[in-house]
Subunit: 381 residues, 2 copies
């Protein structure tokens, strides 16, 4: 194996795939990246795989001799990213699994492991290929991922539940305290394209895989991406990039029945003003239990946010709002409210409530259809 | 006490002084910042003091009622920095030591402690005032501070030794493995100014105080700053800002006698090229003991940097250099070399050596006069 390419091409692609390298590899080869020439197209491919998440990228290179090897990800990354902006040559002695990296004044010899020992990325033999709009996936991930559980013991809740339906996509995430649901209908153009979606696809994708998918799609740009899946795996196939994710097992909660259909109280408020005021009272709420009390005042068409930490400090913010339904006192975990408000980008949002102890819903006005359900916190009067 | 000022003025000044607030205060009031009106000038002053380092700033404000109070630094900072860009009003009830902060839609009540309980910043009654050039202090700190010991048990070595002499300033720092000495002669203009320097001033200033002084002087700009000191304290007095530092006790090593006066070998090399190559071999050196082997080759007028971590990787960089004195093999801790090379900003540097086991010296060519002494590492052949 022998190829050359510009330093920045190799550095960028190594940086990209290395995110799928296991932090604590259970086997030495899982700390490595697989480098392969593709035999004909003049491309080099890099693959990283931690047995759950796999990332593969291809890039053009001047290939003098075909071949493949695995090399330690961190060392290779750290050296290549520091090389001068010049042509890099990688020369591999397959007998000794040793690679020599040449660039400018430097010569680096790295001991690797044979490519044959590297685990294969999962192949999906059955199941048709769907094409999904990149923009829709990004909007769905962005509007839901933050609400997934961080606690690994919550298993299926650590992922985002994705439904591919004939009319569009639905993304949902919940950690048991709040729930975000994003509905993205296909555009007429998208819906008119050949069979792009499979009715009744419902999978739960791990948060980590979606974070990497987000990164990949940001580079990928607009258009459609090919998606293939079976019971256990999902594969996103771009032109130069591929991501495979092992799906999360288990039944995802039937979240739609948790969302109230009718509300007694409704507050429409400027989002950035609401965020600013919440962030200030959060400084005090952080001292105690993160609870902010919201007083909704229909007469004055305003809401007041209050936090009281006796003996230390007290804060109050009064904000103009369009209030309908009457007056109400209700309390929330301020962090949950902020998470939801920051996941949307519209000018205004609407907060809908029934009682101080039943679920409230926050929605952007305009933009992507996001329904963010938050449970209020019960406070002693 | 009652004053108003723009939010960004209060936020900036709070952020600046808060760096002197103790991380783990031994007494509740040391977690607070002292706020005072100055009685006549229409200024508010903020003071933080951890009993070693003290910082005070003054800024103009609209003062409606004179007074003083101490308020919790972190809470005050966190709230004020998040307030909208508008006028902030601080209203203090001295009887209850409670402050009310008003800005835009918000009202924040903070419980403080009486100003009388706040420890006084050290006063230096005797000792004349010197005026030192800000540029010279910055150059001296920048060229030496990095070589001070981080390990608190090394006491006097955790500071920078400063000598104020009639002809200029000298800064020195060492952690026992390397030594940086910066000599800064006064310009003719500076030397001609009225008694600005005190012969034989020798003090050791804690690294933390110098880091904060650096920050303060970067804002302070050019010109001279007043410096006053006695056996235990040093006070830097700017127009709006003041910094007091408790000096480090103990005899500072007589470092000048450690610096060899003559050298057998001499290498002149482009600094950035040297840094780049060292950073790459450092990736490998980091795997083992941080040792880089340097082979100095007079015939080919080049030096080679080599790191070998058997079974993992090996790296070599060859760099053009002006070599005088013959061939030599010598090894260094790569981190120490990099620290010294990064503390200077000249195009070229000179490395002078005698034997593989005696001190080497690195100097910038041009720029500030810095002498950086590094002990080589003995390697088995």
């Amino acid at each position: 194996m022998y190829f050359s390419c510009p330093q920045n091409v190799l550095a960028t692609n190594l940086g990209f795939v290395s995110r799928a390298v296991a932090a604590r590899p259970s086997h030495p080869i899982l700390a490595n990246i697989l480098l392969e020439t593709d035999g004909e197209g003049g491309n080099v491919s890099l693959t990283a795989f931690d047995l759950n998440l796999g990332i593969q990228v291809k890039f053009p290179a001047v290939i003098t001799q075909e071949g493949s090897i695995t090399l330690p990800s961190r060392l290779l990354n750290d050296i290549v990213s520091r090389l001068p902006e010049a042509e890099v040559t990688l020369q591999v002695d397959l007998d000794t699994s040793t690679a020599v990296l040449l660039c400018g004044s430097g010569r680096y010899e790295l001991r690797g492991l044979p490519a044959a020992e590297f685990p294969q990325l999962p192949q999906i033999s059955q199941g048709q290929i769907s094409y999904l709009p990149v923009e829709a996936i990004l909007a769905g991930v962005n509007g839901s991922l933050f609400a997934a559980a961080n606690d690994e013991t919550k298993r299926v809740l650590t992922g985002v539940h994705v439904k591919v339906q004939p009319q569009g996509l639905e993304f949902a995430a919940t950690d048991g305290h709040r729930l975000a649901v994003v509905e993205i209908p296909y555009s007429e153009e998208e819906a008119a394209l050949p069979p792009q979606a499979v009715a009744n696809l419902e999978v739960t994708v791990p948060a980590r895989a979606l974070r990497e998918l987000e990164r990949m799609l940001h580079h990928y740009g607009e258009g459609m991406i090919a998606v293939q899946f079976d019971e256990t795996q999902m594969v996103f196939q771009g032109v130069q990039q591929m991501l495979t994710a092992r799906l999360l097992d288990g039944v995802y909660p039937d979240y739609n029945r948790l969302i109230p259909q009718q509300f007694k109280y409704q507050v429409t408020i400027e989002r950035k003003t609401f965020v600013g005021a919440l962030e200030r009272v959060a400084v005090l709420a952080d001292q105690k239990n993160n609870i902010v009390k919201i007083t909704i005042d229909e007469l004055n068409q305003e809401i007041a946010l209050a936090v009281d930490t006796p003996e230390v400090a007290a804060g109050k913010e009064s904000l103009p709002a369009q209030v309908a339904g009457g007056n109400l006192e209700i309390a929330f975990n301020v962090k949950y409210l902020l998470d939801g408000l920051k996941a949307v980008n519209t000018t205004d949002v609407i907060l809908q409530m029934n009682t101080p102890t039943s679920p409230a819903v926050l929605k952007p006005i305009g933009g992507t259809k996001i329904t963010y359900l938050v449970m209020p916190v019960q406070i002693r009067v």
